[in-house]
């Protein structure tokens, strides 16, 4: 059975270049682009107003982002290889993490916002405790040395997954600080990973153009979802874990039903490659579910599920 989603608008003209990443909270949608500004939109207002902007020192642009509502933090990674931390509510600078020997790449907060985990171009994973004024390194894990392109922290806080340029896909156990699994299935770049809301499944996508879903417990692949014709750049689970949303270099978005193991909706509004997609986190607010997409066409697109039909 297919699902219907309709566009509820697009925000254009705010972003000077590609929008490289988007993050969502129940109230906000946050974007980063080729300039040094973090833009925070009001997700609840009907016209999605720009609520705030944070001017960061990443003058060469920003490409990755993670937001923690609980810890009231935004973390942004710049093309300069450094990470900056800001308060979500007021846009105040908290700290800058930079290491001249490292180029940090993708970031994810732990669900409680106490920890921040980041991949780097050297392939390694670093975890900080970000409660204090200065982030404290509390973990350093090595992989086989190809760039870590994506990262996710499981909702139960137990696992961190990273995807790599050479197809490497790893699950780390945060309790033992050890590598739990090296997952098979990708032989080319893994550009996106995401744990399901109950932390039981891990979805991954990238240059093989297919979505793979693994059981976190057994590390076995339980699902293979072909359909995109080019690289999968981003994926995200909906609030209940019933659907996966993907965005691709092929300019399309797809919604996949986990029950039916198939694509239930394809959206082709973007006029260039899609870089990042996220479900809006308005579950429980009485609103129907929706999502946002960003990419090379500089637009932030908003969608909502058609209900009552």
């Amino acid at each position: 059975m297919s699902k219907q989603y309709f566009s509820t608008g697009q925000t254009t003209g705010d972003h000077p270049t590609d929008i490289f990443a988007v993050a969502t909270t129940p109230e906000y949608v946050v974007t980063v682009t080729g300039d040094s500004i973090i833009r925070i939109y009001d997700a609840l207002s009907p016209d999605h107003q720009l609520a705030r902007q944070i001017h960061t020192p990443h003058r060469t642009g920003i490409h990755h982002l993670s937001v923690s509502k609980d810890a009231d933090l935004i973390s942004a990674v710049g093309f300069d290889g450094s990470i900056s931390l800001w308060t979500l509510s007021e846009g105040k600078e908290k700290s800058i993490i930079s290491d001249t020997a490292k180029t940090f790449w993708a970031v994810a907060f732990s669900p409680d916002g106490i920890y921040l985990a980041a991949t780097a171009i050297d392939g390694n994973l670093t975890v900080w405790d970000v409660r204090g004024d200065d982030p404290e390194v509390c973990g350093n894990l090595e992989t086989k040395g190809t760039p870590g392109l994506c990262i996710d922290y499981s909702n139960d806080g137990r696992y961190i997954a990273t995807g790599h340029e050479n197809g490497g896909l790893y699950i780390f156990d945060t309790e033992t600080s050890r590598l739990s699994y090296s997952l098979l299935g990708h032989t080319s770049a893994v550009r996106t990973v995401a744990f399901s809301p109950l932390s039981k499944l891990l979805a991954a996508g990238g240059d093989s153009n297919v979505v793979t879903v693994y059981s976190v417990k057994s590390s076995e692949m339980v699902m293979l979802l072909p359909g995109h014709t080019r690289w999968i750049m981003s994926l995200d689970w909906n609030f209940e874990g019933e659907y996966l949303l993907t965005g691709s270099f092929d300019k399309s978005l797809k919604v996949w039903s986990i029950d039916q193991k198939e694509c239930v909706a394809t959206l082709t509004d973007a006029v260039a490659a899609v870089w990042n997609v996220k479900w809006t986190k308005t579950g429980g607010t009485g609103r129907s579910q929706g999502f946002v997409s960003v990419g090379a066409d500089k637009a932030l697109r908003w969608y909502r599920e058609a209900t009552g039909g």
Binding site: G34, T60, H63, F79, A273
Partner: protein, 357 residues
Amino acid sequence: MDLDDEFISDSEVSSAHLLDRVEHLVLDMIQHPDSLCIRLRNRFEKKPSSKPKSITVAFPGANHSSARRFAALMRILDIISENLTFSKTVTKRDIYYRDVALFKAQSEVDRFVDDIAATLSVPRRALGVVASRKGVMAGFFVVKDREGKVVRVGAGSEVALVPEIEAADERIGLDGVDYVLVVEKEAVFQTLVSAGFCSRPDVGRALLITGKGYPDISTRGLVHLISETYPEIPLLGIVDSDPYGIHILGIYKYGSKAMVHEASTLIAGRLQWIGVRLLDYEYESAYAGLSKRDRRMAMNMLGNEWMDCEGAKEMRAEVQRMLFLGRKAEMNVVGDESGLGISEYLARLIRSSLLLC
């Protein structure tokens, strides 16, 4: 594949090693800081009977002129190490022009470069230094001399060396040319010229220019002159989808750091980057991963001042995309797999660029 490309890929292997040896020349010297001295093999003495002779350049020396000679040699070693680091190629004339005040004469530069090559026992080209003008052009143009006498007429498919505008005081006439296209690589230039691209009725009459990678002074001088003298003729640039391609376009458009004193006569502000855009390759095998060097180059370039210019906005976004995707591509493989190829791709791109100009 043209010779220059072959040369570049060969030197890729050994340039790190060569760089090491160049650095050692200097490192060995500074072991004795009170009397700095470099011994070079003199390339003129090559008779098999005699042992190779050498010349010594030392500091401090007997007089002012020997101090200048020492400084000149250090500057040339510096330029060579830059060539090796960034896979650049310069002409002997380029080196001279970088610091006319320091190098007393072109002949001194020539001699030092050849002596350094002899000392390291490598061909001069391996140091990224070539003897003569590199740039070539084809299409519709007229070259006149100082008196206005026509010395050469382009006929569409003949390839000519770029004129020596500065030295020989030549002039170029571009009557009836619809656009000028600067092509980074000679191989693509050749493909386009032999496909009759200069006179395609669906695109227009063209002058095609290539500096064969990093352009030399004459090529930059020509593109500058066109940018200034023919403001009505669209001036377009097409480069590889990699950090070096963007950097090369930046050199034509904004000048190189090394040549600040010459910038006003060498930059072509009107030159417009049109591609090949990284997102235009229609199949995945066209892409290659960024090397560590590519990444460093791209990150450094994003920090350069010229990248903040309004006219560089698209190029800056393109460098960000390369880093974001970790991918690059060579322009000659653009076009879908059905074999449309770069000619058709470019025809489409130029038609839409001309409409916007």
